[in-house]
């Protein structure tokens, strides 16, 4: 490490703090101030509206589904990418990162093209079997899974690479089959990476807006989610309620991060 002179050190720290404060801190503080501007009145107003309560429930349901699905597939995909060699591996790896670089609105439109009930590529077939994807929870879960796809994979891949397959081979030589090795050796070793991936996926899923706006159809009281309610309330001059719902969304995300950081040190010191 290069030792910097003290004034330069302080200047750099100041710049970093100011940057984060202006970009993240101040806007967040203002949001909280606005949410509580009339005490709890905005919260009461928001949560006495059954559509808002319904939207919160829909958001949580969709997010939990997306987290569950992405955790299973994310861990599976990470194992596939790290432990196996197969043709097209690099293409698969690139494809997993795609949601990071594509706008969620585009993802919503793409899903619409494939799964809509009238003109979609696959949608009419599914609807003939009684499965409505678009403007319904399956499509919303799919869209959320899509945007949050890389989060678990990218947390788990480096950890799997780092621990190597020595422990797995040792377990195999001691008589463990593939499932026992996964459950007793691999999963405990990547536990914290999975937890981080889950928290990030949850936070991302709770906040998803663009893809869901298109895929859900934004039907108030039916498929409308919390972020969509925020927009609607804001546009309808119910800013107080919009801030209140926003605050709840931020609170859940912050709580997730706090819970993980409280759990983590216990693990490393034991």
């Amino acid at each position: 490490m290069v030792e910097l002179p003290t004034p330069a050190k302080w200047a750099l720290r100041l710049i970093a703090v100011a940057y984060v404060f202006l970009l993240v801190g101040w806007p967040m503080i203002t949001l909280v101030q606005n949410a509580f501007a009339d005490g709890l009145a905005s919260f009461q107003a928001a949560f006495s509206d059954p559509d808002v309560v319904h939207a919160m429930i829909v958001t949580i349901e969709i997010s939990l589904w997306a987290v569950a699905i992405n955790t299973v597939f994310g861990v599976g995909m990470a194992l596939l990418l790290v432990r196996y060699e197969f043709p097209g591996k690099r293409a698969l790896s690139a494809l997993i990162d795609l949601p990071m670089s594509v706008s969620p609105v585009v993802i919503g439109l793409a899903l619409l093209l494939v799964y809509n009930g009238r003109t979609g590529w696959f949608g009419p077939t599914l609807e003939a079997h009684g499965i409505q994807v678009i403007f319904n929870s399956p499509g919303m879960i799919m869209a959320t899974c899509f945007v949050a796809l890389p989060l678990v994979v990218r947390e788990v891949v480096p950890v799997l690479t780092e621990i190597g397959d020595d422990q797995e081979q040792a377990a195999t030589s001691l008589g463990a089959n593939a499932f026992q090795t996964l459950r007793r050796i691999t999963l405990p070793a990547i536990k914290w990476a999975v937890v981080y991936g889950v928290v990030l996926t949850l936070a991302r899923s709770l906040g998803e807006f663009g893809a869901l706006k298109i895929v859900s159809g934004n039907l108030t009281g039916q498929t409308q989610t919390a972020p969509l309610v925020v927009e609607q309330k804001y546009n309808n001059f119910a800013q107080g309620e919009a801030y209140a719902v926003s605050f709840i969304l931020v609170l859940i995300s912050v709580l997730c991060i706090v819970v993980v950081s409280l759990l983590r040190p216990k693990e490393s010191s034991s």
């Binding site: 621990i163 020595d166 422990q167 081979q169 040792a170 377990a171 195999t172 030589s173 001691l174 008589g175 463990a176 089959n177 026992q180 007793r184 050796i185 405990p188 070793a189």
Partner: protein
């Protein structure tokens, strides 16, 4: 014979790791697979364990064809160079792993773990995590873990390679004693000829995917089948037309011995109890000679001195000319 390997071939892409290997490893013995890095010895060990699959050929363990048996069904204990400890489990849990997989009764597992930890002198560490152990202790734990399943054969892949010199020496003496106590058929891979000579009952020398020689440490050292084995088992120097070990050259101040060659001491180095010197003959040949410090002092050896050097009677020697080499190489 405990492990029979016949006509085993293995390639990684274009690289030939094993080229038609045939060898039988004896029951109850401690066998070393010795050879340079990349020579195929680890690959052979992993094929015996089932962690790697041979392209062609068969592996028979205790009379049962194991060529297509899954690794978890072979009942083979495997110890890895970098220990492969289960980091999230205590020492006792690590050792118990194989038994828990086999659904043995809890009381039996506890007894067996106690017994094994005693055997590897880790009883007081039973409830620690592996991260709190030293490298040598981790490797002993890995050995106890492999022995817990009462394997038909115990395979060790460069077991002491990641340890420092002193611990390594201690552990290999300990392994020798352990094997005398628990005489399970053991095969270990090493590139350290000293380790192989000191520990093994039998040594299999492997180079470039082929077996160069199989024999006891004495056979290999005294009667190397070819140049490679001679070179690999210890230092070699050339005197006249023969290749021999530097410590098999006698050094004298007068040409009393028949066949002695005159030479001048060019360089002289003292390493602990021995003295290594390079003597230049009149033909311009540089010959390495190793002698004891006591002997060097008795003769008063110094750089620049004229001495007479002679191969000791009974020295292991092979002719230096390539064309004279045995057909085995």
């Amino acid at each position: 014979m405990s492990i029979d390997i016949s006509h085993v071939n293995k390639r990684f892409g274009d690289f030939v790791a094993l080229d038609d290997v045939n060898v039988s490893l004896p029951t109850g013995q401690l066998t070393a697979l010795l050879g340079p890095s990349g020579g195929g010895k680890s690959t052979l060990l992993r094929i015996i364990a089932g962690l790697e699959r041979a392209d062609t050929g068969t592996i028979t363990i205790e009379g049962v064809d194991a060529t297509r048996t899954a690794p978890q069904k072979r009942n083979v204990g495997f110890v890895f160079q970098h220990y492969a400890v289960f980091k999230h489990m205590t020492v006792a849990k690590n050792v118990a792993f194989g038994l828990e997989i086999r659904n043995r009764p809890k009381a039996e597992i506890a007894d067996r773990v106690d017994e094994l930890l005693k055997l590897v002198h880790l009883s007081q560490f039973a409830h620690r995590l592996p991260s709190q152990l030293s490298g040598g202790q981790r490797q002993r734990m890995a050995l106890a873990r492999a022995l817990a399943i009462q394997p038909k054969v115990l395979l060790l892949d460069e077991p002491f390679g990641a340890l420092d010199a002193k611990v390594r020496k201690e552990l290999r003496e300990w392994l020798r004693r352990l094997h005398d106590e628990v005489p399970v058929t053991t095969v270990f891979v090493t590139h350290d000829q000293e380790e192989a000579l000191e520990v093994a009952d039998e040594i299999v020398v492997i180079n470039e995917g082929r077996i160069e020689q199989v024999g006891t440490p004495d056979q290999l050292y005294d009667e190397p089948a070819n140049d490679f084995v001679m070179d690999f088992l210890g230092e070699v120097t050339q005197l006249g037309t023969v290749r021999l070990r530097p410590h098999d050259i006698e050094i004298a101040l007068n040409p009393d011995l028949a066949g002695s060659t005159a030479a001048d001491i060019l360089r002289l180095t003292r390493v602990g109890f021995e003295v290594r010197l390079v003597a230049g003959t009149e033909d311009g040949q540089e010959v390495s000679v190793v002698t004891t410090r006591t002997h060097a002092r008795a003769l008063g050896l110094e750089e620049g001195m004229r001495v007479w050097i002679t191969p000791t009677s009974g020295a292991t020697a092979v002719p230096a000319m390539k064309s004279l080499l045995s057909p085995a190489s």
